[in-house]
């Protein structure tokens, strides 16, 4: 079973010092070690963005796809080998903007895989333009007059679209993030993990301190029921677009918003996956006997 150090490559991560991606990288490596997943049992897929540069820093079976197209690539992998655990890493621009349609349809399909979103409310790799989760009115080089639109509410969208596992983490709390990762990878169905990942270089608003002053854990909230979809939706609506408010005015929940066990996955409903092609092709069969019966 691979250990944390085994996941590392010859390359040192090129993420900026202090970037939330370092913490997410560590959390995932530790999770994989603790889950004792053999190399052969999982595959990772990345989109394009700072998050996607992780493809160079993770030694595993992986595919670095195109900007916005990680989920369809992962879908192909998951369906051709349904025994693989597929883990997909995307950015907020990547997964909720240019690839947003794939997000909705993957939720709808409840395809068994884990989707991790590095949500830094910015386009990091292209140097700091507003993303679909940037707060309204935020000023960036692409929006010097301020963002006009309301941000995407990824948790709310997933819950409303019938997702069977929706969680939100914070790169500033690695132990907590690892618990979310474990639950998501073990979940059977499409697991959404939106992670607040401060971009220390380009997003000067949503910093580590900003989140530390505001996040609280749903599991510590009295009466919170993770099997109550309406409650999950209401909770997501209360908090998603208040990223500019003062710490005492708004709190931002992290943790598991919603979870439904036992729902049929997309894989469950594809009869051909009961005996996938890769298994049928596993052993070459000796057909000389059959040929003999035709006279050699």
């Amino acid at each position: 079973m691979p250990k944390v150090a085994d996941f590392e490559t010859a390359l040192t991560p090129t993420w900026c010092p202090g970037c939330g991606n370092h913490a997410m990288w560590r959390a995932l490596k530790e999770t994989l070690e603790e889950l004792e997943l053999p190399w052969t049992d999982f595959a990772m897929v990345w989109g394009i963005g700072c998050h996607g540069n992780g493809a160079d820093f993770f030694r595993c079976q992986g595919f670095h796809s195109l900007h916005g197209r990680a989920l369809p690539v992962a879908t192909g992998i998951a369906l051709s080998n349904p025994d693989l655990k597929v883990i997909v890493e995307m950015g907020d621009g990547d997964g909720y903007g240019i690839g947003g349609n794939h997000f909705i349809h993957s939720v709808r399909r409840n395809i068994d895989m884990t989707a991790i979103f590095h949500n830094n409310q910015i386009y990091g790799l292209t140097t700091g333009q507003a993303s679909p989760t940037s707060d309204q009115f935020m000023k960036t080089p692409s929006t010097p007059g301020g963002v006009i639109e309301e941000p995407v509410n990824p948790v709310g969208v997933a819950v409303a679209q019938g997702a069977t596992f929706v969680a939100r983490g914070f790169a500033g709390d690695i132990p907590h993030l690892k618990e979310l990762y474990k639950a998501a990878i073990q979940h059977e169905g499409f697991a959404v993990v939106d992670v607040f990942q401060p971009c220390v270089t380009w997003n000067k608003m949503n910093t580590f301190k900003w989140f530390r002053d505001r996040v609280y854990k749903l599991e510590e909230l009295e009466g919170y029921d993770v099997t109550d979809r309406t409650m999950a939706f209401e909770t997501s609506m209360k908090t998603f677009h208040e990223l500019t408010c003062a710490p005492d005015e708004c709190k931002v929940p992290i943790g598991i918003f919603y979870r439904e066990e036992g729902a049929a996955t997309y894989q469950d409903d594809l009869p051909q996956l009961k005996a996938p092609l890769y298994k049928l092709a596993e052993k070459p069969r000796d057909i000389s006997k059959t040929l003999e019966s035709y006279g050699g």
Binding site: H64, T143, G145
Partner: protein, 395 residues
């Protein structure tokens, strides 16, 4: 009379400035390296009130070109910019823009296409779109990128043309290097490009029209395409007259092909984009050593200037074509194919050697160009034949 000031600026900065001077009604764009700073500069002009443009930040290039198509069909002057994967993602809409005869102007910062991922210069993105029905201009320098943007607006909107124009500049080499550029005053550019008078605009409520309606079996699809071909052919004349007028305004020459040393050249290199500078430098040195070296730079790729090219190359003993793009399975790169075809009707058959170079920003060192000229001298002397598929400088 036009006044000009000399600035030191990147290619992207002067392209953004040229766009501002052309006063588009709408710009819709999505960031991608190395195009990003064109749009960021432009967004700054909008925010400061230096241009009154509806500037839309969309969620992908597919949406960007779709928004441009919608705005242009509505009768607006529309501009955008992209690169590489962004251009690839626009592919559907590129054909809609040309098929609906929408004179959109787009800057393309030439960058390699995935996979594997690479952010540096080659022409694979633009060459992949060469049959999309857009007029295509290429710049060697930031100056040409600036000039081409202004001319593109006039060419696209000419009623005899009405085709979208892609104005290409080399990623990083031209987009991000600081260069010396002469910039025209705002009024002269405004006067040169004029007001856009749209035809069949959706916003003309007295004359309601539909764009893009079904033209299937038995419908006029075939004739639409021929009309597009005719417009592209007419654009040759328009490009040359707009170029002449612009030369008068700016004092800078313009040609669909631009030659150096071709009056008496024995050996010539045909090239597109920033590498023309490297080639000219080497040719100049070789001339000092007595080699009659020349260079032909192609500035307009669509419509391809085959007559001008054939004329420029008449009398040479050997030609090399440098392609910064592949056309896998073809006899050579896209430029090679065009050049060889342009020479087919020449009275004497000239040997043409094809070279692929600089893909994904791989270094274009002067020794490589020297090697090409040296190969050409051997071919011209009859001691060597053009070798197929040379990957210049590949390890």
């Amino acid at each position: 009379m036009a006044t000009q000031k000399t600035v030191s600026a990147t290619g992207n900065a002067v392209v953004a400035d040229a766009m501002r001077q052309c006063k588009p009604d709408v710009m819709a764009a999505y960031p991608i390296t190395p195009q990003t700073t064109i749009v960021e500069e432009f967004a700054g002009f909008v925010a400061k009130g230096r241009v009154h443009t509806e500037y839309v930040t969309v969620e992908s290039e597919h949406s960007a070109m779709s928004a441009c198509v919608g705005a242009s069909a509505a009768g607006a002057r529309v501009m955008t910019a992209t690169s590489s994967q962004g251009l690839a993602l626009m592919w559907e809409e590129l054909h809609v823009a040309s098929g609906m005869r929408l004179p959109i102007v787009m800057a393309n910062a030439n960058r390699a296409l995935s996979a594997p991922i690479n952010i540096h210069c080659d022409h694979g993105d633009a060459m992949g779109a060469r049959d999309a029905g857009w007029v295509m201009l290429f710049a060697e320098t930031a100056q040409e990128a600036y000039d081409n943007t202004i001319m593109a607006t006039r060419i696209a909107e000419n009623p005899a043309v009405l085709l979208p124009v892609m104005s290409c500049l080399d990623g990083f080499i031209t987009t991000h290097s600081i260069d010396r550029v002469d910039v025209l005053d705002d009024e002269s550019v405004a006067e040169f490009v004029g007001e856009y008078a749209p035809q069949n605009a959706l916003l003309d409520i007295d004359q309601p029209v539909t764009h893009g309606a079904f033209a299937g079996l038995g419908g006029p699809f075939f004739e639409f395409k021929r009309a597009q071909r005719d417009a592209m052919e007419r654009s040759r004349e328009v490009i040359s007259s707009v170029g002449a007028e612009y030369s008068e305004l700016s004092g800078r020459p313009f040609g669909a092909v631009e030659s150096w040393g071709m009056e008496d050249a024995d050996v010539a290199i045909v090239v597109i984009g920033s590498t023309a500078g490297n080639v000219r430098h080497v040719a100049r040195q070789l001339r000092a050593e007595g080699v009659k070296a020349g260079i032909v730079k192609v500035r307009v790729f669509r419509p391809f200037p085959y007559a001008e090219l054939a004329a420029a190359l008449s009398g040479v003993k050997a030609v090399a074509v440098l392609d910064r793009a592949e056309s896998f399975g073809a006899e050579g790169g896209p430029l090679f194919l065009e050049v060889r075809s342009a020479l087919y009707d020449a009275e004497t058959r000239v040997p043409v050697a094809g070279y692929i170079y600089g893909l994904g920003g791989s270094d274009v060192r002067l020794e490589l160009i020297e090697r090409v000229y040296s190969d050409l001298s051997d071919i011209a002397a009859g001691t060597a034949q053009p070798g197929g598929f040379v990957y210049l400088g590949a390890r």
